[in-house]
């Protein structure tokens, strides 16, 4: 009997190890066709407006099942995507990428499928030129189909404007800020008047105004050849000091961004203007819903932006190399970003499409947006998109935005430092977190 013990023990031990090992088996590559049931996972973030489109695609393509996953904010989607990229697995078949961290993704663009292999060339004329170029890496591989872009208009609260004796009519407001020649000088000047009269804040916090300013410049934090250009960038510092002077004069409500007191700040008149890239309209909608507010809050959308045309954000759909159904995934990404679907997405999420045809359609329809005092937001954004160009985004763009300037401006908002101190803090953080990271 005892002689059998050794093999028995060996089998037991081996079985335990085998059980462990077999945990990561499987993975047979199934040919993707509508006849074979194929499950596609899609990861988006923020207010993307795809839910109805998923159902529509599933109906039109029997055998396809879409597993959607939406992450609350772009910054968290970035962490999610980066973690899974570094782990080498776990990414969805279709992944939404935000413009702000596209620069990092471009450094590892070979981890994403070249959509040229799946017909990108045939549909490239759908998009506005610069958007398609943004999704193309230095070797000409197309790694992302553009979804939306972020042309900026000015959200303002008509009721508060009226109370302060300012015009509240959309066209008159655009005129007030200078129409096509609107400048940041004018924006802060009116803000000061408003603040003097009412004692209230002009914008929610400095960070978003700063993002708008930077995205508007021809070159942002990086020069087009990928060099950091902040510390000795006189034009940038001048802009910063202009913003700082406004905030020091009490124009900032020092709200917590992405929280806004659970959306309450949009309903209680805490601030009168808000910088609004297309997708931000969807964010405002979500915030107002969580605060239980609606059109009566008085928000409106004017066809004007201080300093002229500006684009902040926008997203792309990519297919990672780890996807097991690349062809089906690429097909879905192309379908979701086609003009027809972009129009529907825009209706659901209030964002602004990146394809020419969809933009033209939105402009022609000029559908009123109930939440924004029936402003034709789509048509206004189409007008705001004129003259927008792509700005080069470097690998650390999102870190500079969220970890360098955001906390420095936060100190300014809280009144714990002045403009010069805030800039110096930003430069210190830049050196610690980016230059010497």
């Amino acid at each position: 009997m005892k002689n059998f013990r050794f093999p028995a023990a060996a089998i037991a031990g081996a079985a335990a190890v085998a059980l462990l090992a077999s945990g990561c088996g499987g993975g047979d590559q199934e040919a993707a066709s509508p006849d074979n049931p194929v499950e596609l996972s899609v990861t988006t973030f923020g207010t993307f407006g795809y839910d109805d489109l998923y159902a529509e695609y599933e109906d039109a393509n029997p055998g396809i099942k879409i597993n959607p996953n939406n992450i609350d904010r772009g910054e968290n989607a970035r962490t999610d995507a980066f973690t899974k990229l570094s782990a080498g697995s776990g990414l969805s078949d279709v992944v939404a990428i935000e413009e702000g961290w596209l620069g990092s993704i471009m450094e590892v663009s070979d981890q994403f499928v070249d959509l040229n292999e799946y017909g990108a060339e045939d549909i490239k004329d759908n998009w506005v030129d610069w958007k398609f170029k943004q999704g193309t890496d230095s070797e000409g591989r197309v790694i992302g189909y553009g979804t939306d872009i972020g042309p900026q208009g000015l959200c303002y609260n008509g009721k508060l404007f009226e109370d302060a004796g300012l015009p509240s009519d959309r066209e008159a407001v655009a005129e007030l800020f200078g129409g096509d020649d609107a400048t940041w000088d004018k924006y802060f000047e009116i803000g000061r008047q408003y603040h003097d009269k009412t004692g209230l804040a002009w914008y929610d916090q400095s960070g978003f105004v700063w993002n708008s300013m930077v995205n508007q410049m021809e070159e942002g934090y990086y020069t087009p050849d990928g060099e950091l250009n902040i510390e000795d960038n006189a034009a940038m510092k001048e802009q910063f000091m202009q913003l700082a002077a406004g905030t020091e004069a009490g124009l900032s409500a020092n709200e917590k961004k992405w929280d806004w007191g659970k959306g309450k700040a949009f309903a209680d008149g805490s601030f009168a203007t808000f910088v609004c890239p297309g997708w931000m309209l969807g964010t405002i909608q979500t915030q107002m819903e969580s605060a239980g507010a609606g059109p009566e809050a008085g928000w409106d959308f004017a066809d004007v932006f201080p300093g002229g045309a500006s684009n902040w954000g926008g997203a792309f759909l990519s297919v990672p190399e780890t996807s097991e159904h690349k062809e089906e995934a690429a097909k879905l990404a192309a379908w979701l970003t086609a003009p027809e679907q972009q129009v529907k997405q825009s209706a659901a999420a209030n964002n602004f499409p990146s394809t020419v045809e969809a933009q033209e359609q939105l402009a022609a329809e000029a559908a009123p947006n109930e939440l924004f005092n029936n402003a034709p937001t789509g048509a206004i954004l189409a007008s705001r998109a004129e003259g927008v160009t792509a700005q080069f985004k470097g690998p650390e763009d999102s870190v500079i935005q969220d970890k360098v300037f955001s906390p420095a401006l936060g100190q300014l908002d809280a009144g714990t430092t002045d403009g010069e101190g805030s800039w110096n803090e930003a430069m210190k953080l830049l050196n610690e977190l980016v230059v010497n990271n």
Binding site: K2, N3, G13, T79, S86, G261, K262, K264, A414
Partner: protein, 335 residues
């Protein structure tokens, strides 16, 4: 055991040529199979414990980018960089402060609850289970609820304070209030759990000691401090050590206390693990993140060793008491 197993061996030779091999098998069986039986644990530990630990150290010696992977070998440069990083020290300070704010009230609260539960209550199991209830709720849910309560603008606690004419407290912006808020989440979750462990220890204290103390005229407080506390000291040490390890690794609560800026916009409640996470997954520097992980590991080991030596001292002090007690009991019998 060995004797009974060796006995059949002389009977083996008649089977002929196989026997030396079988004999050797049998000997190997004796020698190795015990190790084989306990090997699953060690294999698992090597896989999910030791290997990551060593690999993290290997990573910490390199420039290592989250997306781009392994870079140059840099020796201990990551460690020296981290040790000169003001945010690392800031995170350590925050961790210690939150740890002290949670561990001390938690221990006192747990002791008190355990002492109450140790009395003759009606529906004992009901009370004991109720105390454990907060532990069942996931930390994430706890954090979400408490984050709402400790909100700055609309927030339950600030609203309540407002009723008494107290200025709203900046729970997220100010350092100490934010630490207190996070410590509250930890306490809410762990006090009951620790109370149950301490209760188990208290129940093991012989009741006759209490009786004789009561007969000698010791009041409830005197009995608690002179009998209960000394008797449960080893368990206290266990509770302290586990809450130290847990407290130094705190992550979920501060992470969720401010979902937009992990650790607060000005990092006033960024704990070390949160900073590690920021370094690895937001600043993409895996090398430095690994160095932070190792420094934290060393700090926990050092604090663990201090705890261990303390507990050994107390344990050796304890061994005297049972002796005394036995002596006393023996003397009693002799009388």
């Amino acid at each position: 055991m060995t004797v009974t197993l060796k006995r059949p061996a002389p009977a083996a030779p008649p089977t002929g040529a196989v026997s030396p091999f079988r004999h050797r098998l049998s000997a190997w069986d004796q020698k190795f199979s015990p190790y084989l039986y306990i090997s699953p644990f060690f294999l698992l530990f090597a896989l999910v414990g030791l290997f990551p630990l060593l690999y993290t150290f290997w990573v910490s010696l390199h420039d290592w980018h989250l997306l781009k992977g392994q870079g140059e070998f840099v020796g201990l440069a990551n460690f020296t960089n981290v040790l000169q990083d003001r945010f690392f020290w800031n995170s350590l300070g925050n961790t210690m402060s939150i740890f002290l704010l949670s561990a001390i009230p938690q221990l006192i609260g747990a002791l008190f609850i355990a002492a109450v539960l140790d009395q003759n209550l009606r529906a004992k199991t009901f009370w004991r289970m109720s105390v454990l209830l907060p532990y069942v709720v996931t930390p994430v849910a706890v954090a979400v609820i408490f984050t709402n309560m400790f909100g700055e603008d609309p927030g339950l606690i600030n609203n309540l304070l407002g009723n008494f004419g107290i200025e709203p407290i900046k729970w997220r912006t100010d350092t100490l209030p934010s630490h207190i808020a996070i410590a509250t989440m930890v306490n809410w979750r762990w006090t009951g759990y620790n109370a149950l462990i301490l209760l188990a220890a208290m129940q093991a204290v012989p009741r006759d000691i209490y009786e004789s103390a009561a007969l000698d005229g010791a009041g409830a407080f005197r009995r608690f401090f002179s009998i209960t506390l000394p008797s449960i000291r080893p368990t206290m040490i266990f509770v302290i050590i586990t809450s130290t390890i847990g407290g130094l690794q705190i992550f979920a609560e501060p992470r969720l206390f401010d979902p937009t800026d992990p650790g607060g916009p000005q990092r006033n409640f960024q704990t070390t693990v949160l900073y590690l996470w920021e370094m690895g997954f937001q600043r993409n520097n895996f090398g430095k993140a690994s160095a932070i992980a190792w420094l934290l590991f060393l700090i926990i080991v050092i604090i663990g060793l201090i705890n261990f030596s303390l507990s050994r001292k107390i344990a050796s002090a304890d061994t005297k008491k049972p002796g005394n007690r036995a002596q006393r009991r023996a003397e009693g019998k002799r009388k």
